[in-house]
Symmetry: C2
Subunit: 260 residues, 2 copies
C-alpha cells in the first residue's frame, strides 16, 4: 500500500454567511428541515417571505431537530424586495432561467462570489411545488443551478439548502472569481429599489407607461430586470439617480444655455 493521505482538517465555518430566504414556503416541516441544514453548515439568518401557513408554525420545530434558535429568530417579510433590502447580492436557486437574461452560476461559483463580498448576501429559494417565479427572479443578480440529472432534476427544499450549505463551507479556500476583484460589490438592494421606484415615479408622472392592460406591468418588470442584472455599486446607483433627476428636471432648457 502507498501511504495514506492525512485526515482532512476539522471544518471551519466561514464568516459572514449569507441569509437563506424562503419565498412562499408551503410546509412548516420543510422550514424546520431547512433550519437544520442551515445550522449544520453555519448559516444562521433565516428569512421567510409570505409563508403559506403563517408564522410561527408548530410543524417546523420537530424537523428542525435542535436548530430551534434559527426557527425562533426567523424573520417574516411581506415581499422579496423587503426581505433582501439590506443585501448587496441576491442569488436565486432555479433549475432554469425561465427565458431571462441572467448570469447562471454553480453552487461553488455562487458561494465564491458571496465570499468575495463584504456585506450581507442572500440565497433565495422558491416554494416547494413551483420554485421561484420569473417575478421573484427579477430581484436576483444571478441564478444558481444545482447540477442535476438531465432526466430527473428534482430536490426538495431542505436538500437544496443542504447542498448550498455544503458548497458554502467548502468554499473556504476557493479563490474568489476574478471579475469581482477590485469591485466594491453591488449596492444594498434597497438602494437599487429606491432608484427603480424613483425612475418609475418619474416615468409615471411623465405619462410614459402605456395604459393598455398589462403593458404597464410588463414595462415595470423590464425596468427591474435590466436594472438588477448589472449589479450596480452604491456609487453607480447614486449616479443613476442623478441621471434620472437631471433628465426629469433640467436645470435649464437648451435655449437657456446661451444666457449662462
Amino acid at each position: 500500500m502507498q501511504p495514506l493521505p492525512p485526515p482532512p482538517p476539522p471544518p471551519e465555518m466561514p464568516p459572514n454567511p449569507p441569509a437563506v430566504i424562503l419565498v412562499r414556503p408551503q410546509l412548516g416541516m420543510n422550514i424546520g428541515a431547512v433550519a437544520r441544514a442551515m445550522l449544520n453548515f453555519g448559516l444562521t439568518d433565516l428569512r421567510l417571505v409570505q409563508p403559506r401557513d403563517g408564522w410561527p408554525n408548530p410543524e417546523a420545530g420537530p424537523s428542525a431537530a435542535g436548530a430551534d434558535a434559527l426557527i425562533d429568530a426567523a424573520r417574516v417579510y411581506g415581499s422579496v424586495a423587503d426581505a433582501i433590502a439590506d443585501c448587496g447580492l441576491t442569488i436565486g436557486t432555479a433549475m432554469t432561467t425561465r427565458d431571462m437574461i441572467r448570469r447562471v452560476t454553480s453552487p461553488a461559483g455562487a458561494v465564491a462570489e458571496i465570499r468575495a463580498l463584504p456585506g450581507r448576501c442572500a440565497l433565495l429559494f422558491g416554494p416547494e411545488r413551483t420554485g421561484l417565479t420569473r417575478e421573484d427572479l427579477l430581484h436576483c443578480h444571478a441564478l444558481c443551478t444545482i447540477p442535476s440529472n438531465p432526466e430527473f432534476g428534482s430536490l426538495n427544499l431542505a436538500q437544496s439548502v443542504a447542498v448550498m450549505g455544503y458548497a458554502w463551507v467548502m468554499a473556504h479556500d476557493a479563490p474568489p472569481p476574478t471579475w469581482i476583484v477590485n469591485h466594491e460589490g453591488p449596492a444594498p438592494q434597497d438602494e437599487l429599489t429606491g432608484l427603480i421606484a424613483a425612475l418609475e415615479a418619474q416615468l409615471a408622472e411623465n405619462g410614459w407607461f402605456n395604459p393598455a392592460p398589462g403593458r404597464s406591468e410588463s414595462a415595470r418588470r423590464m425596468l427591474r430586470n435590466i436594472l438588477t442584472r448589472p449589479g450596480f455599486t452604491g456609487a453607480e446607483v447614486q449616479f443613476l439617480r442623478g441621471v434620472v433627476r437631471s433628465l426629469a428636471n433640467p436645470r435649464r432648457r437648451r435655449g437657456d444655455q446661451a444666457d449662462q
Copy 2:
C-alpha cells in the same frame, strides 16, 4: 463592469455511480426522499439493510417525488456484509470515528476515490436517530465526514445523501487521489469476507478464541477491523488466504525439511 464569466456547462452525470446503502432506515418517507436526492445526482443503485418497517413501504412513494424507479428497484439485505458483497470500496458516513482507526475523508475525497476505481463502490448511511454503529463501520474501508458546524452537526438522512450526490457530480474533473493511482483497488467485499471467515473458522478450530463472555466477539471485531482497514486487493486477499491455509496445514513439519 468587468466581463462576466461564461455560464457553467450543463452538468454531466459521471459513469459508474456508487450504491447508496441505507442501514436500518426507520421512516419510509426518508427512504423516498433519499431516492429523490439520489436520482437528481444520477445515483440509481439503492440498497436497504433491514428497513425497520419492512419493504416495500407505501410511505416512500410520495417523498420520492417521481423517483419511483429507484424505489421499485431497491434491494433489501439482511446484513451490511450481504449488501456490500460486490463492492470493492465501502465508505461509511459518520460524524465521528467512534474511536476506530480508520481513514477519514471529506465528501469530495470520498467521491474522488470512488471515481478512481473501476468496480462497484458503496456509500453507507446509518439510521436516522443513531447513525452507523461501530459494528457497521467495521465493514467500511474509510469514513466520510460531511463538514458541519462544531456546535451543531446534524443533517437528516436525505440531506446527507443530497450532499454526497452533489459531491459526486462535482467530482467529474477532480484529480483522483495520488495514493490510489497504479493500484488495482480493493477486492470485492465478499472476497475479504471469505478470508475473514476462513481465518475465524481456523482459529476456532485451533481453540484460539477465549471462551470468556464477550471476549470472542471482541476478538472477531478486531479481526474484521484490522483486515478491512488496509483495503487489500484481490491478489492480496488470495495471498493471505494462502498464508492462513499454510499456517494451519503445513505441508511438512520443520523436521521433515531435510527429507526433501
